[in-house]
Each structure stands twice: as structure tokens, then as C-alpha cells.
């Protein structure tokens, strides 16, 4: 019985040690789309952050990386209508501009900082 308990405790600690780093919740940043605007328009997030766009307009929008005139192909997704979402995890530090390809005046910015250096 004693050895069984020891085994269980050992197993539990092993699993805990392996799982712990993965169990930490990954950072997320929400960006809403409302009244044909990305809100917040500019965000600063640590590397590894999952950015989630949520379409609140009753119309199709896109999240298209690029400067508003031209897509640069780094990332992109379509949000077909109200309540649809698109998400993207940013694994590399840097500045990312994006826009809506259907409404080029809708523009946003994401600054991805090295881990632990972000402030919003």
C-alpha cells in the first residue's frame, strides 16, 4: 500500500512537472470588429499571443496582413458575418499591419514584443 502510494505520488509529480509548462494559459488578445472598425486599433502583445478577432458587424470583413493598399501574405482570414471569428498566434516579434480587404479604410496594427516585454 505504502509503495503504491509512493508510486502514485511519484507519477503525479512527474506528470505535474511535464504538464506544468503547457498548462500555463497562453496569452490571448481580443480585437472586436464593430461599426467597420478594429477595436483596439493598435495592440501590443508578447510573443506567442493568440489574437482573436470577433466580427460584430452584420457583413463580411477580412483580417488581411498588409498596409491597406496591398496584402503581404503573412496572415489572413475571412469573417463571414456577425459572430464569426478569426484567430492567429504570433510567434515572432515584430510589427504587423493589417486591414479589411473589403473595406480598405479599416486598418489595425499589432506589435509583438519579445516575451515579457509587452504592455498594452
Amino acid at each position: 500500500m505504502d509503495s503504491a502510494m509512493r508510486y502514485l505520488r511519484h507519477a503525479w509529480l512527474s506528470v505535474g512537472l511535464v504538464v506544468a509548462p503547457w498548462a500555463r494559459p497562453a496569452p490571448e488578445q481580443a480585437v472586436s470588429i464593430h461599426l467597420f472598425q478594429f477595436e483596439p486599433k493598435a495592440v501590443e502583445v508578447p510573443v506567442g499571443t493568440l489574437v482573436v478577432w470577433d466580427n460584430g458587424d452584420d457583413i463580411e470583413h477580412t483580417v488581411t496582413s498588409g498596409n491597406g493598399e496591398q496584402a503581404d501574405g503573412r496572415f489572413g482570414g475571412t469573417l463571414a458575418g456577425k459572430g464569426t471569428r478569426f484567430s492567429m498566434r504570433f510567434e515572432e516579434p515584430g510589427d504587423y499591419s493589417y486591414f479589411c480587404d473589403r473595406h480598405h479604410f479599416m486598418r489595425g496594427e499589432i506589435r509583438v514584443t519579445p516575451s515579457g516585454k509587452a504592455g498594452n
Partner: protein, 217 residues
């Protein structure tokens, strides 16, 4: 050729041509104050702005189709000043960001009207068809914008009303291009009158959404 100058004129008189001084001259007209106002005043202000939009828009297309460059530039400038003022009215109600988004969206449909007029002038059916398709797509965009701003304005209802605006404009432009001035001015009056069908529900929906701001008196 009668229309040889048109594309240049239309481009020169494009969507952002309104000079600051033109905007300044227009800035006091039909203004919607931020303070509490009556529903009636809101209706009048929106009706004035939207009727002016139709009138100036068709003045601009008539000048463009007639090859009257200077007149077109002036009309397009006044039209853009009207657009800015309309966006400021939206911004007063829904915030500056919404006002700016509305302005970009509103200017877009004026651009499509310019495309259609250019297509008519050049007798380019493909260009006309594309412009009409763009305009019809735009009606859904504007419907979605206003519906997002105000739950009392269903997307499809607004889209249908804006579609009526687009169809009325097209009919007036077609008559202008044919030189059928009796029809052109009859269609212009219809187009101006149609704006009330947009302005009234918009005003009522805003008043319903913000009863404290727009008193029922």
C-alpha cells in the same frame, strides 16, 4: 469628342478633393449639435443633409456628362463637404471613429457613382455593369453599418432603402446622358424626395436609441 475630358475631370474631382476652405464654408450648414435636441430638429437636419447629397450629386454628374469641368469640380467639392458634414453628424451620435468609418464608406458609393457616370460617358457597358454591382454590394455594407450602430435599423431594411437611392440616381444619370432634361429633372426630384425615406427612419431610430439625448418634442 463631347466626353473626352470626362475621365480626367472625374478623377480630378474625386473623392478627397474637397479643399479645407470648402469644408469650412459648409461647416455651419445643417449642423447637428451635440447637445440635446428635439426629434423634429434631428429629422430636419438629416433630411436637409441627405437631400443636399442627392441634389449636389446629380448636379455633379450633369456637369461631368456635359464636359463642364469647372462646374463639376465645384459641385464635387460641395458634395464632399456635404459628405464630411454627414459623417460629423454620425460621429456626434456614435463617436468620431464611427464618423470616420462612415465617411470612408459614404465616399465609396460616390466613387461607384463616378465609375457609373464614366461608364455611361464612355459608352462602356462593362464599366457600367461593374459600377452597378459595386453599388448594389455597397447597399448591404451601409445597411450593416447602420444596423451595427443602431439595433432599430435592420440591415436588410436599410439596404433596400439605399438600393432605392442608387436606382434613382442611375435613372437620373441615364436621362442626363441622353439629354432628356425633362426626365432628368423629374428623376432628380424623385431622387431628392427619396432621401426622406432614409432620413426619417434614421432620425426616428436614433431618437429611439437615445431618448434622453433626443427629446420627443
Amino acid at each position: 469628342m463631347r466626353f473626352s475630358l470626362l475621365p480626367t475631370v472625374l478623377l480630378a474631382g474625386g473623392l478627397t478633393l474637397a479643399a479645407p476652405q470648402v469644408r469650412a464654408q459648409m461647416s455651419g450648414d445643417h449642423a447637428i449639435p451635440a447637445a440635446t435636441m428635439s426629434v423634429g430638429d434631428l429629422r430636419v437636419a438629416l433630411n436637409n443633409l441627405l437631400a443636399e447629397h442627392a441634389q449636389l450629386g446629380l448636379t455633379a454628374t450633369a456637369a461631368a456628362l456635359g464636359g463642364r469641368s469647372a462646374e463639376f469640380k465645384a459641385a464635387a467639392g460641395a458634395l464632399d463637404a456635404n459628405s464630411v458634414q454627414l459623417s460629423q453628424a454620425i460621429g456626434t451620435v456614435y463617436g468620431d471613429g464611427a464618423g470616420q468609418a462612415f465617411l470612408a464608406l459614404w465616399r465609396k458609393h460616390i466613387g461607384f457613382i463616378v465609375d457609373y457616370t464614366t461608364g455611361v460617358a464612355k459608352i462602356d457597358q462593362k464599366m457600367q455593369d461593374k459600377a452597378v454591382n459595386d453599388l448594389l454590394g455597397y447597399t448591404k455594407d451601409l445597411g450593416a453599418f447602420l444596423s451595427s450602430a443602431n439595433p432599430n435599423l435592420p440591415t436588410e431594411v436599410v439596404a433596400d432603402l439605399v438600393k432605392g437611392h442608387v436606382v434613382g440616381f442611375k435613372a437620373a444619370i441615364d436621362a442626363q446622358a441622353k439629354g432628356d432634361w425633362a426626365a432628368a429633372y423629374a428623376k432628380t426630384r424623385e431622387a431628392v424626395a427619396h432621401m426622406q425615406r432614409i432620413a426619417d427612419p434614421l432620425a426616428m431610430a436614433i431618437a429611439k436609441q437615445f431618448p434622453d439625448k433626443y427629446a420627443a418634442r
